[in-house]
């Protein structure tokens, strides 16, 4: 075969594979993603769906009851109603009242039940203005 044509075919095949792969990537990312919502939005939304909740732990609301951690989470800006949360699994070091967290889970009987080991607490590390 004429080498120029051969190259062209090769290019088309490579591009086709790339397009197919990126289509798969795009498709799965939309179906695999969990919606991110603030506590007040979750309170307003229909129960049953899984959300990634991000908010701020209400100070003084943290307690432990037979192995599960219970606390309330409010919107990051502090406004709105707070959402009661129950969670089992590993708790990152920085977790405590007043910290921002991200947790995946769903609302069951008015309580946001976190999936085990999905609790992420933000490092209060760098480049931030301090809490309070």
């Amino acid at each position: 075969m004429d080498p120029r044509r051969k190259r062209k075919i090769r290019l088309v095949v490579a591009l086709g594979v790339a397009v197919l792969l990126s289509a798969a990537l795009v498709y799965t990312s939309f179906s695999a993603a969990t919606e991110a919502k603030a506590p007040s939005q979750i309170l307003a939304a229909a129960p049953g769906a899984t959300y990634e909740m991000s908010g701020r732990v209400v100070k003084g609301s943290v307690s432990r009851e037979d192995g599960s951690l219970r606390f309330r989470v409010a919107d990051r800006d502090g406004g709105g109603e707070s959402l009661p949360v129950s969670y089992r699994g590993s708790v990152p070091d920085p977790f405590r009242g007043g910290r921002e967290i991200i947790l995946t889970g769903q609302v069951q009987r008015g309580v946001f039940v976190g999936e085990p080991d999905t609790l992420v607490t933000k490092c209060p590390s760098k480049f931030t203005t301090r809490d309070e």
């Binding site: 919606e35 432990r64 920085p94 405590r96 009242g97 933000k122 490092c123 590390s125 480049f127």
Partner: protein, 799 residues
């Protein structure tokens, strides 16, 4: 002192602008202006060094009139962390960025002071443009001036977050920054080469080492971050696909692709457009990493707040990307390759495949990282992707990569005949198949197909690399004699770049084995035990012997002594603890505040070559906390002097009454009460020992995870070998080195081909063809250097 610093910073900004302008004036070939601009870059480096030294002095001497010191350090902060606290601040990290850039730019311009005359002025202008942007940010963006002062400095600072007080956390940020920053150098020279239309491999040769240094720093930064996460964060993992981790991974991946494909341009003059795009992409991703941690656009573990500098960095990224794209398009004609890939069975073809895999991986990570923004754009809802999504795509790509890590080094440049390929691949393939059979018998490969594939391919790669080392040493020995180990050292030290690279490949293969094993075969259990109880995790009996409490200046530590037995034999004694840091900087108001501070895990770790036993504890201190609350109530009653005060707090209420009467006594009274509270808190903390309270332990058995760190260190060693300048280069005269460099490069190619032939990688016919071609090219270079008909023609070296 702060005014001196501000002046130095302002001067640095002007110097950067001056250096860029002088370089552009001298671009037509006016050496004086170019020399002036180079010296201005050195001056910039000196000025920024002064700024850094001033800040460090302020930290070391607890000068709390500096806002940066007050907010990130305190008198109690250990000295080592005082010196490292600079870059835990926004403004300090910007200063670090600019400072490292000025050092790298000075080094690059010093190294090229007699080379690349046409393109150095443009490269200088680009580097100084970036430097001016960063120094300008500190001066004008507002709120990020490192020399901002406090009009009434408080007696003590806020202190450094205890979570960050970990040695690797202190080295990690400067490593990442150095990595990000060093990519500026190859980027700037690429832009210079494009503008000046000097598009051969000269700019690559001049900046290759900087790209390699950037890559090494970035890799080391990633490794240290992972190590910190593993030992300090108490969740037992080392990678979470967090946006900030991804931000550092992306330029590293694309930088890896760049380091490979520039070799193709050096050797074969191909892939010029691709290389230009890769370095622009890498640098943009490095800037993006700098931006992401400061913008707050993405939700991340790292609560990097919104700040004023984000939009400016975004603007710089836009300028870099649009400008570079326009430039590359306008130079497309000059960028066309003179050559084509001869055969798919050649090293350059494998490099191309590896490039596609690496860029594909970067694209996956990019898409996943920015998916919250993408989904908000299309659906109006923010949604994010979790680790499993990342794993699904990066795992097969990583497996492909490890395979090519093995194939690439085995193939010669240009072409490899089928018969030859069969001979080269036979050994490694047999070894990999044997490993596969053993694994298939020992484990069930269908349960963990990806890990199985990775182990097999990694064994192939390791066997192939071992064969490379063996044959290289054998070839060297046949040429120069001596013992086999001496020949091995000889062949490595004479071909540092090649064998350093191979050592990096070994390290990466080992590292991937560690990751695959520890993520696929990990056992993780959370158990709640009372003292005296025990649990069995993966064949290890873990007995909670007794609780521990220790008190030091910084924190209360509640821990546990775990006695681990394996197969009935004593295996290890682990002491996981959890430290509750005292509030710093502010006076404690309640006993409870001693337990409200930052808490960190000290992991109880028994590392081993076979597997790690990792434990962390969540002490059951609710009893302690109950007593703390009661004590606080008691204190309030005492201080308030309520009726019915118990006798033991009469002293306190008397003190408070005296303080109320005489304000001069107030600080003394508060100090007394503070001390009393501290003593009470300590006593209550110790009461934990008598509680017999259940503690929750996270126990992880992580097979082969140690090999991840070992692999990382091997890769680091390989990178250092590749970076280290060869003795010849250090001795070489610098004058007129452009032609000299081209000649050297061609000689190196000839030696490479000879080594490949001696090592059995090239067949005799292929070698004869290649050698003749290379020698003809070398003669052409010599001719152009000496002029035609020169009698003193140099002889092309033999052997």
């Amino acid at each position: 002192m702060s005014s001196l610093g501000s002046a130095a910073l302002a001067l640095a900004f002007l110097t950067a602008i001056f250096a860029a302008a002088a370089a552009l004036i001298g671009r037509g070939g006016d050496r004086r202006w170019v020399d002036v601009s180079r010296r201005a870059v050195y001056a910039l480096c000196a000025l920024l060094t002064l700024c850094v030294v001033l800040i460090e002095i302020a930290f070391a001497t607890d000068d709390f009139s500096f806002a940066i010191v007050q907010q990130h350090s305190s008198i109690e902060t250990p000295s080592f962390y005082k010196l490292a606290a600079m870059w835990s601040s926004q403004e300090g990290s910007l200063l670090l960025w600019a400072w490292v850039l000025s050092i790298a730019a000075s080094a690059a311009l010093y190294a090229t002071r007699n080379k690349l005359r046409e393109l150095v002025p443009y490269a200088t202008a680009v580097m100084m443009g970036v430097a001016a942007t960063f120094t300008g940010l500190m001066l004008f963006a507002g709120g990020v001036d490192p020399f901002a002062t406090l009009s009434s400095p408080p007696p003590d600072g806020v202190g450094l977050n205890p979570l960050l007080q970990h040695p690797s956390m202190m080295i990690h940020p400067p490593m990442l920054y150095s990595g990000y920053v060093a990519f500026t150098i190859p980027f700037a020279f690429a832009i210079g080469a494009l503008i000046a239309r000097k598009l051969d491999a000269e700019w690559i040769r001049a900046t290759r080492r900087f790209a390699l240094i950037a890559w090494t720093f970035l890799g080391l930064g990633l490794l240290l971050g992972a190590r910190w996460s593993y030992t300090e964060l108490g969740w037992g993992g080392y990678w979470a696909w967090d946006p900030v981790e991804n931000a550092a991974l992306m330029p590293w991946l694309m930088g890896t692709a760049f380091l490979h494909s520039i070799m193709v341009q050096e050797k074969r003059g191909m892939l010029k457009v691709w290389n230009a795009c890769l370095i622009v992409g890498t640098f943009s991703l490095a800037l993006l990493g700098t931006f992401l941690v400061r913008s707050g656009v993405l939700q991340s573990i790292h609560a990097f707040g919104d700040s004023t500098v984000g939009p400016y960095i975004l603007g710089l990224i836009a300028v870099v990307m649009i400008g570079s794209a326009a430039l590359i398009v306008s130079r497309l004609d000059d960028l066309r390759s003179q050559k084509r890939i001869d055969s798919l069975a050649s090293r350059e073809a494998v490099f191309l495949v590896n490039n596609l895999l690496l860029v594909g991986m970067t694209a996956v990570v990019f898409w996943g990282t920015f998916f919250p923004l993408i989904s908000e754009l299309f659906t109006g809802e923010r949604a994010s992707l979790a680790a499993p999504w990342f794993d699904r795509y990066t795992t097969p790509l990583a497996i492909g990569l490890v395979l090519f890590t093995g194939i690439g080094p085995l193939l010669a440049w240009r072409r490899v005949s089928w018969a030859k390929a069969k001979r080269i691949f036979r050994g490694p393939a047999i070894f990999a198949a044997a490993v596969g059979v053993v694994l298939a018998v020992a484990t069930n490969p269908l349960d963990t197909p990806w890990a199985f594939a990775l182990f097999v391919f990694a064994s192939f790669a390791l066997a192939g690399l071992a064969q490379e080392f063996w044959q290289g040493a054998a070839a060297r020995r046949s040429l120069s004699g001596g013992s086999m180990p001496a020949a091995l050292i000889g062949v490595i030290s004479r071909n540092r770049r090649r064998y350093g690279g191979y050592i990096v490949h070994v390290g990466v293969a080992v590292l991937l084995i560690g990751i695959a094993a520890s993520s696929s075969f990990q056992t993780k259990r959370d158990v709640t035990l009372r003292p005296g109880e025990s649990a069995v995790v993966d064949g290890r009996r873990i007995a909670y012997e007794r609780p521990t409490v220790s008190v030091d200046d910084e924190a209360f530590a509640f821990g546990a002594v775990l006695n681990v037995e394996r197969d009935g034999k004593q295996f290890a004694v682990l002491r996981p603890t959890r430290r509750y840091f005292r509030p710093t900087g502010v006076q404690a108001r309640t006993i409870g505040s001693f337990f409200d501070g930052e808490a960190t895990s000290e992991v109880g770790l028994k590392a081993g070559l076979g597997s790690d036993l990792w434990t962390a504890v969540q002490p059951g201190i609710s009893g302690v906390q109950r007593r703390v609350r009661a004590a606080d109530r008691g204190f309030r009653a005492c201080v308030g002097g309520a009726p019915g005060v118990p006798p033991q707090c009469r002293a306190v209420s008397r003190l408070m009454r005296a303080a109320a009467a005489d304000p001069r006594l107030r600080p003394i009274a508060l100090a007394q009460i503070g001390a009393l509270q501290a003593a009470t808190a300590e006593r209550l903390a110790r009461s934990y020992l008598d509680d017999d309270a259940p503690a929750t332990f996270r126990v992880i058995v992580d097979p082969l995870v140690t090999w991840m760190w070992i692999g990382g260190l091997i890769a680091l060693a390989g990178a250092l070998i590749a970076i280290w300048p060869a003795r010849r280069a250090r001795r070489a005269p610098v004058a007129d080195s452009e032609a000299e460099a081209r000649k050297e490069a061609k000689y190196r190619e000839i030696r490479d081909a000879e080594l490949d032939h001696a090592a059995g990688k090239l067949s005799d016919e292929d070698f004869a063809l290649l050698d003749a071609e290379l020698r003809r090219e070398a003669v052409e270079i010599l001719d152009s250097q000496n002029g035609h008909g020169n009698e003193t023609r140099e002889k092309v070296p033999q052997g």
